[in-house]
C-alpha cells in the first residue's frame, strides 16, 4: 500500500510534467515553426487589419445607424441587418450575438420541438425576403437546408453551393456585376470534398466576400 502511494504521488508529478507541459510545448514548438499559419488559426488580414479567420464563420450583417449616424443599440446589443452586398453565412445562435467565436454553443433545437419549427419558419421568411427581389422565381422548395438550419458549432465558415448560387443573384445586382462573373467566383471558392470523396462541398463565405471586394475594386 505504502509503495503504491509513493509511486502514485511521484507518478502524477512526473507524468504531469511530461504529458501536461513537455508534450504540449513540443507540439506548439513544432507547429509554430512548421505550420505557423495553421497553428495560429489561419488569420485573414486586409490592408494589415485582422478581419477574421478563414476557418471561423462570421456574420456579414452591418450595424444599423440611427439618425445621428451612430450604431443603434437595443439593451446593449448592436442592431444589425444583412449587408446585401455580401454573401450571408448560415443562421447562427451563439450567445452575445451571431458568430460569437469566444463562446461557441450548440443551438440544441430538438427535432420535434415547436421552437425549432418557428425558428426555421422565421429563417425561411427572412431568406425569401432578402433573395426573392433579385431572383423572382425562387420558391420555398429551392431553399437549401443549410440556409435555414443553424450549424453545430454556430461558427460554420461555409454555405452550400446551392445557397451561394441563389445569393449570387442579389450580390450581382447590388454590385452591378454580371451573374456569370459572380457565379465564377462562387465556383472558384467552392472547396471540393476532402480527399475527393469525404464530407460535403462547401463555399467559404469570408474568402468569397473578400474576392468580391477585390473584383469590384478592379472593375471600377
Amino acid at each position: 500500500m505504502r509503495r503504491d502511494i509513493v509511486s502514485s504521488l511521484i507518478g502524477i508529478v512526473v507524468l504531469t510534467i511530461l504529458l501536461g507541459l513537455v508534450y504540449p510545448l513540443v507540439i506548439t514548438g513544432v507547429g509554430q515553426v512548421a505550420f505557423p499559419g495553421n497553428a495560429n488559426g489561419q488569420k485573414v488580414y486586409v490592408n494589415g487589419k485582422l478581419v477574421g479567420s478563414k476557418l471561423i464563420g462570421q456574420s456579414f450583417a452591418r450595424p444599423v445607424l440611427d439618425k445621428q449616424g451612430k450604431a443603434k443599440q437595443v439593451e446593449g446589443e448592436l442592431v444589425t441587418e444583412p449587408d446585401a452586398r455580401y454573401f450571408q453565412s448560415r443562421p447562427s445562435a451563439t450567445e452575445g450575438g451571431a458568430y460569437n467565436a469566444a463562446a461557441s454553443t450548440f443551438s440544441n433545437r430538438g427535432p420535434n420541438d415547436k421552437a425549432t419549427e418557428e425558428a426555421d419558419a422565421e429563417n425561411i421568411k427572412a431568406y425569401l425576403e432578402l433573395e426573392r427581389p433579385y431572383d423572382p422565381s425562387l420558391t420555398i422548395a429551392q431553399i437549401p437546408v443549410d440556409a435555414v438550419n443553424t450549424s453545430a458549432s454556430n461558427l460554420d465558415p461555409e454555405i452550400s453551393p446551392a445557397n451561394a448560387r441563389i445569393q449570387a443573384h442579389r450580390v450581382a445586382a447590388k454590385r452591378e456585376l454580371s451573374l456569370p462573373v459572380v457565379d465564377r467566383l462562387v465556383s472558384k471558392y467552392t472547396d471540393s470534398r476532402g480527399l475527393g470523396f469525404s464530407g460535403e462541398v462547401g463555399v467559404n463565405v469570408l474568402e468569397l466576400n473578400l474576392a468580391l471586394d477585390r473584383t469590384a475594386a478592379g472593375s471600377r
Binding site: R3, I10, G11, V14, L15, T16, L21, P24, I27, A34, F35, N38, G41, K43, L50, G52, S53, L55, I56, G57, Q58, F60, A61, R62, R90, A101, A102, A103, S104, F106, N108, R109, G110, P111, N112, K114, A115, T116, E117, D120, I124, I140, V145, V148, N149, T150, S151, A152, N154, L155, S160, N163, R165, R193, L195, F197, S198, G199, E200, G202
Partner: protein, 590 residues
Amino acid sequence: MTLAGWFTIVLFVVILTALAVPLGTYMARVYRGERVFLTPILGGPERLLHRVLRVDAGRGQDWKSYAKSLLVFSLAGWLALYVILRTQNAFFVPHALNPLGYRSAPWNVTFNTVSSFVTNTNWQFYSGETTMSYLSQMIGLTVQNWLSAGVGIIVAVALVRGIVSRSGDSVGNFWQDLVRTILYVLAPLSVLAALVLVSQGVIQNFSSYLTAHTITGLTQSIAMGPAASQLAIKMLGTNGGGFFNVNSAHPFENPTAFTNFFEMLLVLSIPAALVFMYGRMAGNRRQGHAIYGTMMVMFLGAVIVAYVAEAHGSPAQHAAGLHTHVIAGSTGGNMEGKEQRFGIAGSALFDVVTTVTSCGAVNSAIESFTGIGGAVPFANLSASETIFGGVGTGLYSILLYVLLAVFIGGLMVGRTPEWLGKKLEAREIKLAGLGILITPLAALFATALAVATRSGRASISALGKGPQGFSETFYAYLSQANNNGSAFAGYAGFIQPVAGNRGAHGVTFADLLGGLVMLFARFAPILFALAVAGALAGKRVTPAGLGTMRTDNTTFVVLLIGVIILVGALTFFPALLLGPVVQGLTGHLY
C-alpha cells in the same frame, strides 16, 4: 443520401481494419515484453521511469494487488486534478497561461469535471473556452486524457493475461503496464496525430483571444489556445472532452472533412487493435476475428440507421415547409446542428464512431438529431461499450459478454462451458454477470432519480416539451454511466452568466449524481473484470474436445450478438420507448 456518403462509410471501415491489424500485433508484442522497433529508443526512458517511480517492474501482481495499485493511482490523479482546477487563477499561475484571468469553476462543477476526466468519460458541464485556463487544459485535463486511457487499456491487457495464463495467479504489473502503454502506444501515436492535426488547421498556440474587425463593420472575438495537443489524445484515448465547448464541431478542432475522417480513425484505432491483440495473445487469431466481426456487424447497423434517418429530415423542418431532399449543390436532410463541411454522412458516421466507443466527442448536435437518428446513440450506449467501446474498456466489456455467451451456449447444449480450454464455473459467471449489470443499473437508477425529483428537473432545457426532456435526462446519465461523455447538450449542470465564471454556480444535484455515477460505473466494472482475470488465471488448461463449443466461428458471432442485444434490450427498452422511440414514431411537435 449520396453515393459519396456511402463510399465514405465503406472506405472508413476498410482503412480502419487495415490499420488495426498491425497495431494489434504491435501491442501484443509490447505487452508480452518482446522487442519492438521502438525498443532501442524507448527502452532507456522506460527503465528511467521505473527507477523514478520506484517500481519493481519484474514483480507480477495478483488481481487484488493490481487493482489496489490502480485505485490508489486513480485517486491520486483525482486529487491532483481537483487542486489544479480549483486554483487556476491563484497568484502563482503565470498570466500567459491564464490570459483571460478565468476564475475556477465552483466545487460542485469541479467535482463532476474531475470525476469525468479521471474516469475517461469527459462529460462536460463546463464550456472550454469560457471556463478553463490554458494551464488547466494542459496540466489538468490533457494529463488525465492520457492517464485514464492508459488505465483502461491495461485493465483489458490484465484480463487477457488472466484468460490465457497457463500458471500462477499473476495478471501482470500495473506500473510496468502503465509506463509501457504511455511510452510505446499512446505517445508515438499522439505526437504523430497532433502534428498531422496542426498541419491541417487545428490551432496550437498560447495567444490571447483575437479581436477581428469584419469587413461589414462588426467586431468578432475568436478563442485561441493549445488545442491540437489535447485533441490528439482526446480522440486516441477515446476521451472526447473538447478543448472548445462545441467539441469536434468547432472549426479549430475539426477544420476539414479530412480531419473529420482522420479523427474518426484515431478514435477507433486502439479499440479495434486491442481486439486483434487479444487474438494474438490467445494464440488463435480467429478468436479476435470473431469479436471484431461481432462489433463490426453492430457498428454498421448503427451507421446505416443513423445515416438514413438524418438524411430524411426532421418533423420540425417539414412543418416549417422546408424541403429536405437532396438538390443540386445541397445535401438536404436534417442539417440542424450539423456542419456544412461534414454533411449528413460525415456527421452520422462520426456520431456512431464516438458513441459506440466511450469517446463521446461530437461533431454535430445530438440533441438536434431526429428521433430515430437520436435513438442510435442511445442504442449504442445501451450496448455498454461492447461495440469497440472505450480504449481497453471495450475489450474487457465484450470479454465479459463472451463469458456470458459461452455460459448460455453451454446451457443450451448441456455441457460444462469451456473457454479457451478453461472450465467456467459459478464464480466467474457471477462476477461477469455483475460486471455487465453495473453500468445499466447506474444509468437507470440515476435517470429515475433525476426525473422523479424537483432538483433533477432543474437541469432539463426541454422541460415541458414532451419526450425530449426525458431523452435529455436519460441520455445524460446513460452517457455518464458508460463513461462516454457525449450529450444531449441542453442538459445543464452549470449556470455561467458571463465568460470567466464571475457569478457562476453549479447545479449541485446533477453535478454530484453525475460524478458519482461516473466513478461507480467506471471502477466497479474494472474490479469485476480484474476479479475475473484473477479467477481464470490459475485455472488448468485442458485441450478442446469434440463437444467443445467453439468461440471463433460465425455461429458464436451470432450467439454473441444475440446475447448483447438481449441484455441491452431487456434492460433499456422501456426507458428507450419513453424518449427517442416516441419521437421517432410521431410527426407531432411539442
